[in-house]
Point group: C2
Chain length 144, copies 2
DNA sequence: TTTAACTAGGATAAAATTGTCCTACATAGA
DNA sequence: TCTATGTAGGACAATTTTATCCTAGTTAAA
């Protein structure tokens, strides 16, 4: 469904969100440990998310990654996916055809449209804040 | 969503289905031309589908690929996807976690479960026969 | 029986994705 | 000011996916 990079990215962002809620920064090391991901690879993904404005990084000791309160209040899962994998998941043709729309649909166009609309709706309506609070209460997990 | 191989595989299967409906075999060359896919790569995919029993191949002149009537009557899109990409699309964890189930769910487990159930339902209820007849009537397309 | 139109499949290459290593740079705190 | 703890980012390696090439084997039809 998503690329590995996107999976790590989503998990990392949720963890950073949790830490930010508690007023702490998350170091790369702690993030990678918490989500069980390769450190250097995770670094690239986070750098990307910082560049795209989804979170901030602070260098030096006590540095790390954080999401400011205002951002956190509005951040949706769809923005993380968009930043890493782009929007082809819910925009491109399910059968990889370049020109596929209502006027010249691929054989599964209509059927896919519904599923992808669902996916899109889900990603756009899911807030990082919500995911973070669920994780905080221990009802969901980031490892294993 | 699907791998390139799976996209080609689905498109190829639909074309073979159309030809089979008309009592014709589809040659590899004609298939690749019709779905605009790399010939040799498409050959591998088709060989795989033959090995997995989704269609048959006949060697020599007048040879090619075909789906017998009985098979065609029951063949679902899900079987093609399963044969090429496996069932991880609607079975694996959306965030790539190894152990993710009701008892230890990832942060998006519930939300994903619904979308993937929809996808699964769609794939399992979509028949190749239906897709082939729609293509025959010119209401859908395999190219561009 | 020869030929031409086919599929089968191994070997290899190209490209994209995933993952690692190393050096540079930033900065809080001793 | 020095040092330890951070991130930034370039270069490179491994793996997987996608694509190509070539030879062998099959068989209908001339």
């Amino acid at each position: 469904m998503f690329s590995k990079a996107c999976e790590y990215g989503i998990r990392a962002t949720i963890y950073v969100a949790v830490q930010s809620l508690e007023g702490k920064r998350a170091s790369l090391k702690s993030i990678a440990a918490e989500i069980e991901s390769p450190v250097a690879f995770t670094a690239k993904i986070l750098q990307d998310l910082v560049r795209k404005g989804l979170m901030q990084s602070v260098m030096g000791p006590t540095g790390g990654f954080e999401i400011d309160q205002q951002k956190l209040d509005s951040l949706k899962l769809s923005q993380v996916v968009d930043a890493i994998d782009g929007d082809s998941i819910y925009k491109g043709c399910g059968l990889g055809m370049k020109q596929c729309d209502e006027s010249k649909p691929c054989p599964v166009h209509d059927k896919f449209a519904r599923v992808r609309a669902d996916l899109r709706e889900m990603l756009e309506s899911t807030s990082l804040l919500g995911l973070a609070t669920e994780l905080e209460t221990g009802s969901t997990f980031l490892k294993r």
